[in-house]
Structure formats: structure tokens, C-alpha cells
Symmetry: D2
Subunit: 344 residues, 4 copies
Amino acid sequence: MSVRVGLLGATGAVGQRFVQLLEDHPTFEIAAVTASPESAGKSYRDAAKWRVDTPIPDHVAEMTVRETTPEALPDDLDLLFSSLPSGVGAAVEPELCRAGYVVSSNSSNERMAEDVPLTIPEVNPDHLDLLETQREERGWDGALVKNPNCSTITMVPTLAALDQFGLERVHVATLQAVSGAGYSGVTSMEIIDNVLPHIGGEEAKMETESRKLLGDVENGELSLHDVDVSASCNRVPSLDGHLENVFAELDANPDPEAVHEALESLDGADLPSAPDQPIHVFADPDRPQPRLDRMRGKGMQISAGGLRETAEGVQYNCLAHNTIRGAAGASVLNGELLVEEGWV
Amino acid sequence: MSVRVGLLGATGAVGQRFVQLLEDHPTFEIAAVTASPESAGKSYRDAAKWRVDTPIPDHVAEMTVRETTPEALPDDLDLLFSSLPSGVGAAVEPELCRAGYVVSSNSSNERMAEDVPLTIPEVNPDHLDLLETQREERGWDGALVKNPNCSTITMVPTLAALDQFGLERVHVATLQAVSGAGYSGVTSMEIIDNVLPHIGGEEAKMETESRKLLGDVENGELSLHDVDVSASCNRVPSLDGHLENVFAELDANPDPEAVHEALESLDGADLPSAPDQPIHVFADPDRPQPRLDRMRGKGMQISAGGLRETAEGVQYNCLAHNTIRGAAGASVLNGELLVEEGWV
Amino acid sequence: MSVRVGLLGATGAVGQRFVQLLEDHPTFEIAAVTASPESAGKSYRDAAKWRVDTPIPDHVAEMTVRETTPEALPDDLDLLFSSLPSGVGAAVEPELCRAGYVVSSNSSNERMAEDVPLTIPEVNPDHLDLLETQREERGWDGALVKNPNCSTITMVPTLAALDQFGLERVHVATLQAVSGAGYSGVTSMEIIDNVLPHIGGEEAKMETESRKLLGDVENGELSLHDVDVSASCNRVPSLDGHLENVFAELDANPDPEAVHEALESLDGADLPSAPDQPIHVFADPDRPQPRLDRMRGKGMQISAGGLRETAEGVQYNCLAHNTIRGAAGASVLNGELLVEEGWV
Amino acid sequence: MSVRVGLLGATGAVGQRFVQLLEDHPTFEIAAVTASPESAGKSYRDAAKWRVDTPIPDHVAEMTVRETTPEALPDDLDLLFSSLPSGVGAAVEPELCRAGYVVSSNSSNERMAEDVPLTIPEVNPDHLDLLETQREERGWDGALVKNPNCSTITMVPTLAALDQFGLERVHVATLQAVSGAGYSGVTSMEIIDNVLPHIGGEEAKMETESRKLLGDVENGELSLHDVDVSASCNRVPSLDGHLENVFAELDANPDPEAVHEALESLDGADLPSAPDQPIHVFADPDRPQPRLDRMRGKGMQISAGGLRETAEGVQYNCLAHNTIRGAAGASVLNGELLVEEGWV
């Protein structure tokens, strides 16, 4: 079986990761690429300033970049992946869903909408049930699924694994790589010999998206998890890989060994791009480190380490590759879930 | 008045900062420098690989480096500053105090000893009262005063300012500069395009030293503050300046404006190297940043910013220059306090 | 005496350096600041995203930013400093000179024009004689003086010092700091764990500007030096300070000691911002280094080191602070020369 | 066919690259690993602080580290690879050759000895003929072959390709990655926001090794090429990949197109680890860049770009992965050549 996919916003940093990840995908085949009106009509090779460390695939390089509108897309696409800027996504994604396309989107618009599944396949695959509500309420033939923000994805699978111990309160500080801001998002003058203590909107995303991801969907209705999350987000001079320091208050007060075991026992998803084991836990407190560990599981495995008991629970570090597991790979995984569940 | 000081461990990264800071000091005058036996007998210029960004002062450059023993030191020194490795400090500082020297030390040995003042002049100058107990119990003619670890100093003045609101619980994550590990402590292969999630012993230092600094001394007896601190310490690729993300639970639940005001109102110390206002608070959430703000108040002022209300209190960021306010400058300030209080 | 100066393009990276350098200037007083039309009407504080490591001077912060046109400027300015983008400079600088303003400009437009002095006070102050020709040919009441590109300034004073040995051929490779590209010129994704082997137009600037700076002006006519320069320009992950590896072929084949002496003997200019000795030479082959040595002479002294004989001459390294000696400071120095020579 | 190899100095940065490169080698099989006496007796996993970005191979991890002496090595090894510190190499490599081992060494000792082949298979495979002379003069049963220094290997294949145009004089400046100095060779305090203009002994290595590599071996006698090379070597804050700016004077004065063609036409070696085409030339002047291009050809292909005509020849940039093509991979390639030519 082959699934013909279109990439919306294909020339940016995350768009290039999509191209790279889909190059050897068993079922997904890139059939169209879109970008901004200025790039439309150019070859992908000319429109994208290719900066990924593997060569640009020839067949994609020669595709003509299209505009991001329902009219400009071919009819025979089975699935769209979107890494559009959120403003553009907010305008065009509903239009595409109305026109019948199924969209797995990394853009931040509508992530918190009550009838839009915000999904990590290993955490809350059942949230796809919201698509029924979505189609009903919005009168769409297509469907819109979101993956969370890169900083949220890094942490939430670990929280999902710990929820069995009664997750009550989370404090988290992030050390985020510059690629999370896009190719030109952080200038060298800003970050050399420095750290930026603020990423606009990021803290709120972590605080709200986590509650939705860990929440329940029953009878097509979403209820948020009541965990209270406080986040502090920082940009550091690493290229890829978000490291996060998590302090989790747990009602059951498990010992670190039980936490270690719980983290490594989170069930994997039976999908082509999913790692067998979603979370690897290091015993060495020096790990995980962004440069050494971000490519575990082809960039799709989350790492944890530095487990320590605290007064009310546990503290630990977690790490994920922000443009693979945290962005393009997250959307691909959701696309695979949509296929698996019959939405595509 | 002139106070003749000796520098113990004068050739290392912190030792060089001492030399730089004391260059234009109104009363302290460097009269002797010591280092390891291999350096003894050399000129300071030859023994120290000078790496500070101001020229090496000529009169210090030409001093002969001495061994770090009571016998090797001149008799007419009024005060010693120590930045010895903690193992060496543990062996030699008591000997020097027994021989009658007053030592203001940055080394980590004995920081938590019950009869050793661990002091920040703006926070707990009254802890010097412990010196009476110290002399009595140890039979010393001299005296030993410590300043806390660089990561602790960055945060504790802010906690002292907030204690009026009922400080109950602190979660803190640090983004620490490489200079905190000494000149050769972090290799370039470890830290370029990377972050290290662990600094050996650092978390315990922050957790225990904070409680001592915020504690009370009455009748020569120390009682620890009962705040519970959980720290997560990271090394990042910046040269100087520790940035910290603090989540403080406060019984009184003040609003951010009251917190802002409290931080800026912490009383300064009336000492030559103390900034008029110990803590500057930025309204801009992008600040403080290590490279832009570490030199505020000649490296002695602490910066804060990013104030936000949380469910149980407040979160904010704070920053200090780790080898000035956090090390050499901290000892100098304690030295000034010792003079002011008549111990020198 | 006070000279009232206007800053054209005052909000950019170089513009901010102008403000910083002029803060304590003995005679120059900032009386007007201009920027792009979008900034006009705002306070300088709001228009400039201040990123220099000293506080923004209050009196400048409160100035209203003007448009960069003759009409928008006050009449009583004695001198203008320009760090406009070269396209804007090309359009507006001639207009201002026609209107009678004397302009000391860092912008690259017209640097190679035959009747525009391209000047480094310690190298070719006599090139100001070209201003007579300029006024005659262009019918201007004002005057336009340029300083060379930052990479050129770093090397040319050393070549001027060596020309006594018969300078014939130069090969030079540069390791240039990111600030040379402006605040947003180099993204972090481009430069972390990397080096860029190309800076558009930079090599040609070094090759042609050097010949003009070392050339002669006689009877109001310029003749270029016949040295042949080949440059290879690279961007590296340092913030400030261009390091250059120079191979100079010298007819007289002097020994390294003579070269050392010649470099240190280049005459200083008797101007307020000029260092007493323009070039400092290190004996230690490890120096100069950008971070350790860029601030020598308040950022105005050039450093050299690593002298070694080659088959046809000598090789050495040189370093200058690219936004002080190489940009804003260079224009200020030319402004001081214009005052000294009676053009202002 | 399987060739049993021993790795001398297997725990260091280059040693780990050997382990990584040999993991999937078609014929070489790691049969023994050695390190310093302190590591001997430990498992490789414990002795090596594994820092390569692929997992440590299990069968090597469990090997017991041996001392680096003939007695400590098993008898049935066919070939030894050496990345010993040069002092240790100088002491032990001759002993091993005397004991009958064939050694392909990356250590710098004896690289310039007249009877020791210094070999790059694509450049001077015929230099292996020196082994006859070596055995005769030294009375060895084994053999010692060297590969050049990492900075030399990056440039010399390009010079070999250009020698057809009459190579007369080379000026080269290098921008070398920190891994070239070993895991702890460059501290973070030295290199963040900085560049080091000196690497001890490196310039002399490039200048002399180049002439040997490009020289002739006839009747067992070596004659050096008479090209004159002047090198200036710098350390920059990149992890892997040496970039070099080359200015080559060529008697025939070819145009850049002919140079481009000549570089891409250098013959490849028919060996398992050799890339089909030794040198790739970029038309884009922005390339090669260390981070983007060091892994071309699994780290074994050299990249060039930025071709420009100069007065006497051509200038260009070249790049190679310094610990693969420039160290471990270079020795492996020489090992393959030794097998191919029947010396193993």
C-alpha cells in the first residue's frame, strides 16, 4: 500500500525534516510540496535552502512547489502534513479539511480546540475519537489532527508513564535547542556565550497542552487532566535536542527504582516510525545529553536520566530530538496512526 | 587604613579574579600569593597562566609564589582569602586559623559546619556571631568564614527578599557557565552543541547551603530554615554568569508586583564592594541574560526577571556573575564585613 | 570646544557602538540620531534594541529618532557619522554633502571612488587632500570621508609598517567574528559547530581597499599601491574581533626581529581616540586571541603575533576589534582627524 | 577472508573512531585492544569513556584492555592500527615491528623518516616500496606505515590533483576542529567566543609532510617534492572537520574550470573504505562547511569549493573529517592498501 502525501510548508526547517524522514518511509510517498506564494512555481531544490545533513532526495528536489491552497493541490492526495506558520495554518488548514483533506499538523493553531485531537500515539491514541465530533460540528469531510509543541512532547510521555503514581503537580525548566525557533529564529549574536531565559508563548503551551494530552476523551468529549504544570523555558546554544528538568509531585511517592521501571515500561505504538520502547532511562546521571543522545531510535526515542527522590515525588531529566520526535516525526507518527485507525 | 591580604590558591581561575578585583580596592592590598608546591618559588607571572581580560597587575606579577602553609606566609598579614581546592582547604585552613589567621574562604570544605559562618553580607551578616562559638570550641586565635557555592549565591538573596511572604518550598533549575568548573573543568568536546545535565555535588550544595544561609543564629547557635529546596543543575556553553529558574512557594501568595518590589528592596550592605541595590529586577521577560547582564554592578549585582504567578507562589529567573559575585567577589565582600565588624 | 555630531543609522549594531564610544568623548556630543522611516518619531530607547554591554546613555535614549534626510536634520550639526546600509548611504550621503554636511562614513558605498578619501589616520592622513578635488568636481560644500572595511583595517596598518621592506605580495586568510555581519547577519543554525568559508564581496574589498590605503595622493590625484593582495574570508563563531593570518612577500627579506620592531614602531596619530601605539606585537605565538585581546587600547589597538620567516618574507597574525577599530571607532577617528585638519 | 586486527591506544578519541569504523568492515575484525597501563585489565567499556554518537559495539565493549607491549598481544594478529601518543608510539612501534607485526599508524613519530612510507592511497600508494628498504635497514620482520597529520591529509590530495599544472608554492591557513586535539585537548574556556591562532608543531607538519607525500620513490629511495609550503594553523570552535584556505601557485596558470575538473578527476583507490571519487567540488562558494559536509562519503571524501583565480595560480577551500579521513579512516585505508599489496 502506498499513501500519497502532500507537505504544506515544505521548505522550512521542519519541512526539510519531513522530506528527510519520509525518504525511506515504507508507505508514505511525497506527491506534492507547498510553500509561500514567493516560492510557488520554483523547483523544490531552488525554493528550499537545503540544510539537513543528508542529501536532498532527487525526486523531491525536482518537484514544482505549489501554493498552499485547496485549488493548487492535486486531488489524489491521501494525507497532508503541515508545518505552516501558525497564522497561515489557522487560515488554510480549515479550508483544506472542508475540502476533504486529512491533515496531520505540527502548526500551533487550534491545538487546544476541544474538537481537535492533540495526539502522541504512545500517550493518547484514543483522542482520535474527537474526529467524529469534529466532523459533526464543523461539517468537514476531512479531518485535522495536531501534535503538541516540541517542548511538550519531550516531557509528556514521561508524565504519562508516571500518572499511575498519582500525578499532581509538575515544575519543569527547559534547555531548548536553537533549531526549535526555525532556521533564522535565533541569531548568533543572541546566543553565543549566552542563554535566553524566555521563549514567547512556550511556557503557556507546555502548561495547557500537557493537561489536554493527559486528559480523557469519553463519548466524544474531552476533559483535561487536573495536573498543574509550571514551566520555565530557556534557549541554549545547542543545535538540536531539548533537555528538560522535571520535578513531579506524585501522590503515591514511589521510590526511584519504581519510577525508572515505569518510565521504561511505557507501551510503544505499533507504527512504522515508532521506537520499540518510547523512553530509554540512563543510570548514569551525566545522561541524557543533547548531542550524544538526540538520535536514539532515529531521533524518535525519548531519553531520561538523573532520577532522584524529592520531598513530594521525583525529579529527573528528559530529552528528545525537537525537530524529529518533537515536530516532523511527531506529525508522521500521527499520520501513521490515522492510517492504522482507518481515517486515511 | 590598609589591610594586608594573602591569597591562597592564587593562580587558578578564581585566584586570578581575586587579583583583578583587589587591584583597585580602597583598603585591601595583596601582600602574598600562594599556590601548589610545583608553583612555589616562581614569579606569579610565570606560575599563573593569566586569562582574565584585564592586564596582570605588575606588582602582583612580580611576587614570588609561596607554598600554602603557615610557615611560608609572612607574619604581618591581616586577612587571607582562600580559593583552594576543597581537599587542600580542608587540610590547611584549620591549621592557618589555629596559627591566628583570619580566613575568608570560597572553598567548599566545612561550609555546613555548625560553628563556621556561611555568609552573604546582604543576607545574614549576623551569622558572624558564630565565630565566638568557633573560637571557643576549636581553640583558635584566627577565624574561618565561608561564602556559599556560586549557584547558591545567585538564588539565596532573592529567597531572603521573599521570605517575608512565608517561603515554603523551592524548585530551581540552573544553567551554569563553564568558568564555574575552573579553567580546565569542562572540555570543548563536552559542551559545544551540547548541555551537561549534571554537576557533581552541586544540587546537594544548593539544597543545604540555602537552608543555612536563611537560618537563624541565636546565642551562638545555628538553626536551619525549614524551606525545602530541590535543585537540578546543568552546565551550558556560556563563559560566565549562572542563570537560574526559580519556582518559589509562598504562604502569603503575593502578586508579582509585590514580589518585584520585595526583590528590589532587599537592603544593600554598606561595604566597599557591595552594590547599592543587591538585586535589579527587569520588567522585560527576555532579561536577565548572562552575557548582557553579568557585569551589572561590576559583577556584584544580582539580576532577576521573568516574574510570573504560579498556583502556590511565584516563578522567576535570577542571574549572577559566578566568579565575581559567586566566588572571588563573595569572599572579598565577607572580608570587608570582617573588617567592618572588627574581626580583622 | 564642543562638536555637535549626528549619527546616521544609529539603531543598528554599529550605530550602537557609536553611541557607546561617544558617551565619554572629550569633544564630540551626540545632537541627533537617524534611522529608517519605520523608526522615525520613536524615542531612541524604543527604536534601538540596545545590545551593547554598557547601559544606554539616558540623554541619547530620550532623543527622538529622525529620518535620514537633509530636511530632517538640525542645521547646527558640525559633523555626521554614518553607518547606513550601503544602498541607503549611496542615495543619501551625496545629498547631505551637497547640503553642506561633513560626513565620516563607515558605509561601503564610494569607498573606491577616486575623489573620496579612504582613510586610517595612522596610515594615510594625507589622503584628506582628495577633499579639495572632491569639492571641486562635485560642487559640494560638505565633504565625504570613508573608513575601510573591518577586515581591511585589521591588516593594512601592519602592511603600512612593513612597506619599508618592499611589500610585493600578500596572501591573507581571515577568521571573522559574527558581529561583522550585523545583529541578524549570521543565524545560530549557520554557525554553531561550524565555519562559513565565504563572506560575499569581502575578499574583493580587502584586495582593492588595501591598495588604495597604501597608495599615494599627490596634487589631488590618487595612485594605488601595486601590491597584489589575495584574500580568503571566513566567518567563525566568535562575537567580536577579526583574526587574520597574513603571508607578506617582502623584497628586503628582513628577519622576524626587524619585522617585530617595524610593527611596533608604526607612528600613532595624535587624536583623542587613537592608541599611543597603533600595533602591539606579542612574543607568545598563542596570541593575539579574539576574546582576550580585542579590547586592548579600548578596542582601538591592533595586535599582532606569530611572526615567522617564510621563503620570500614573513607570516604573522593580526587582530582588531571589528566594530570598534574596524567600524564605529574608525569613523570616530576619521572625524577627529577632520577636526584636527580644519575640515570641521 | 578475515584479517584480525589489534588497536593500539584504543580508548582515546581516535581509538574510538577506529572501533566505530571497523564495526561493519568487510574484512577487518577487532581481535585485541590496548591502552595505557592504568586501563589494562579493565573491560573496554569501563576503560573507554565512549563518546562517539553510535552505540559501543558489544563484542568490543567486553574485551579486556591489554598493555601496549609485544608480550601482551596475542600472536595471531594480522595487522595493528596505532593511535598512540607520539612519545609512546616512538618507544613501542619499532619494538612491535621487530617482533613481526605490521603496523598502520596514525601517530606522528617517524612520519618523516626516510624509510617509513607516509601514505595516502589515492596519492602515493607506490611509497609502500620503501618497506623493502625499511626491512633491510632495520632488520624487521614486520613493517611500519604512517598516515599524515589530519591537516595535511585535508590538503594534499588537492595538491596532488593540481601537480599536473606545475605546483610551485602553497600558502595555506587552516580552521581546525577541536577534536583534532583529543577529547581534553581544548578547554571550553579557551575556545568559546574565541579562536586560537597556534597549534604547536602543526605548521611544520603540514610544510614537511606535504613534500614527502608529493615526492617520488624510486629504487627504494625517497625524494621530496620541491614545492614550498607555508602554513598558518588555527583552532576554531567546531567539533569535527578541518577547513583550509589554500593559495596555490601553478606554473601553467590554468583557469578555474580546469582546476575544478582536475580536482574531481583525481583517481580513487580501489579499497573498501575509499570513496569512489576522492574529491568533491562545490560550485556554491558557501561550501564546503564543516558541519554540513564533513560526513560526505562516510567521512572519507574530501570537499573543495570557492575556486578563484589569483595572479599566479588559484585559491580554493578544502575540507575533510579530521578524525575519520584525517586519522582513524586514514590508517584503515592504509591497512587495506597493505592487504591489497600483500604486506599483510
